[in-house]
């Protein structure tokens, strides 16, 4: 039976999640040098175009058509059979296509997250091919395993409310792989580039925070108490993490920065994502407070030591925060919050923590290997990195023949 309230909320949530990708574009765009601003906006924007088409043609089928294999199979190609009646396995009270378009927005933002790792040095053509292959061979199967009918991680009992493994760990590991293989940006040692527009970073985070309500509360797929729980814990965790990042900086560096609060907020949103439908508000505070500790350590201490150039910390925030969120779900999940979920370690079920850990490890290994293969293939046929001269001149001019800002009118 279709419920009007549920359908309205899921459609609204889909729109909210779509807005996260332009939000991400400004979050990332503000962090790069001004000669690369448009390239980041362009990469995010073109993903909205490419993945929207991929999803209705075959992506949704690969991810969500019922099957017990690697993929969901091809039975829903071109949305054949995906109509306005509910598909009860996924959402019993909204039209099937509403579920499909909600999921489309997740398929869009996930590859967009990876951009942070190779920003300022990837060829646009290579980026397009890489993204399409990655969405098809990494995102779609993983979404199937975790969320699809017949998916083996779902059957194993792994909890992932809104995409901690499928979205954040997945994109974060892909970010690490691409950052490692594409190599550092030029002149990084002599001249660490400052973010060219911090107000844009903050604007982007504002849009992300706003859109994340659709991401997490929308994942209840109904306008009900569970959606409210997800909404409340999402807001709480974001707040706790933003605050905690500021405190860490204050203690360590003497001054809290706006950039830090913005980064912390994103980390808090990432961490609560898998847990949003399974934990209550006090665990959400703990999850938020601690995620900034882990992500700050990854970004400010481990990254400089290891020397990889994850330009905008896609790995440091999304993977590290995502792993913490997935494991925290195994610690703090409670059937009081969600009867169709499970209890976590602190509620007397240590096995759930183990299941979460296995799901995380499988995601990491699969994504690491397949992303590496896709990258190498694209590099072989197209060449992934721009020339040194193009990198110095900036991607806006060399890849798009446009620039973001004028000197004089």
């Amino acid at each position: 039976m279709i419920n009007a309230g549920d359908t309205a909320w899921v459609l609204m949530s889909s729109a909210l999640v779509l807005l996260m990708t332009p939000g991400l574009a400004f979050f990332y765009g503000g962090m790069v040098r001004k000669k690369n601003m448009l390239s980041v906006l362009m990469q995010c924007f073109i993903i909205m175009c490419v993945l929207s088409i991929q999803w209705v043609l075959f992506g949704y089928s690969l991810a969500f058509a019922p099957a017990k294999g690697f993929w969901g199979g091809l039975s829903w190609l071109g949305l054949r059979g995906v109509g306005f009646e509910p598909y009860a396995d996924y959402a019993a009270t909204i039209p099937h296509q509403a579920f499909m378009i909600f999921q489309a927005m997740f398929a869009i933002i996930t590859p967009a997250l990876i951009i942070g790792a190779f920003a300022e040095r990837m060829k646009f053509s290579a980026f397009l091919v890489f993204t399409l292959l990655w969405a098809t061979f990494v995102y779609d199967p993983l979404a199937h395993w975790v969320w699809g009918t017949g998916g083996f991680l779902k059957n194993m009992g792994a909890l992932d409310f809104a995409g901690g493994t499928v979205v954040h760990i997945n994109a974060g590991i892909a970010a690490l792989v691409t950052a490692l293989v594409i190599g550092k940006r030029k002149n990084l040692d002599s001249n660490i580039p400052a973010p060219h527009n911090l107000p844009f970073v903050v604007l982007g985070v504002g849009l992300l925070w706003f859109g994340w309500f659709g991401f997490n509360a929308g994942s209840a797929l109904a306008a009900n108490g569970l959606a409210v729980n997800a909404f409340v814990v999402t807001n709480t965790s974001a707040a706790a993490a933003g605050l905690s990042w500021a405190v860490i900086e204050w203690l360590r560096n003497g001054k809290p920065t706006l950039f830090g609060v913005a980064s912390g907020t994103v980390a808090g949103l990432v961490a609560i994502t898998p847990a949003a439908g399974f934990v209550s508000v006090i665990p959400a505070i703990i999850i938020g407070l601690l995620v900034s500790v882990f992500c700050f350590t990854a970004v400010s201490i481990i990254k400089p030591k290891l020397g990889y150039d994850d330009s905008l910390d896609a790995f440091g925030v999304h993977c590290v925060g995502g792993i913490w969120g997935a494991l925290a779900t195994g610690l703090f999940a409670s059937k009081v919050v969600n009867s169709s979920g499970a209890d976590g370690l602190f509620f007397g079920n240590p096995k759930q923590f183990l299941i979460q850990l296995i799901a995380v490890l499988i995601t990491i290994i699969y994504t690491f290997v397949v992303t590496f293969i896709i990258y190498k293939l694209v590099d072989l046929f197209i060449g992934v990195r721009v020339t040194e001269k193009e990198e110095l001149m900036g991607l806006d001019l060399t890849q798009h023949r446009e620039r973001a800002y004028t000197v004089l009118e």
Binding site: K186, N187, S190, E390, L392, M393, G394, T398, R401, V407
Partner: protein, 113 residues
């Protein structure tokens, strides 16, 4: 004392800076400017600015040096900025009458370095 003004391609700034540091010229002023010389009408992929008139984005360096630093400064700028293509830029060398370091009120050669 001389004032050296150089107009270079923006993407060559890092290399020019590196070359200047090598010959121990550390005090430079950099600004972003628009202009054009013979490059007008030359089509190259990256010169997107031609769509907004013929003014191209350039970097302007200003370096005040004592006489014994003039040659190596010029050479360093050339080394960093030269590609052999139109649009590499120009170097102007001007006589500099006076130089005052505000902090100490030193004047002349002592104030430059």
């Amino acid at each position: 004392m001389k004032l050296i003004i150089a107009i270079i391609q923006p993407y060559k700034l890092e290399e020019v800076k590196e070359e200047l540091y090598k010959v121990e010229v550390n005090l430079i002023t950099v600004s972003e400017v628009l202009g054009h010389g013979r490059q007008k009408g030359v089509t190259e992929v990256y010169r997107g600015a031609k769509e907004t008139g013929n003014l191209l984005r350039k970097i302007r360096l200003e370096i005040a040096v004592n006489e014994n630093f003039v040659e190596q400064t010029i050479k360093a700028i050339i080394k960093g900025a030269k590609t052999g293509e139109t649009g590499d830029g120009k170097i102007f060398v001007l006589d500099l009458k006076e130089c005052v370091r505000i902090r100490t009120e030193e004047r002349g050669c002592a104030a430059i370095g």
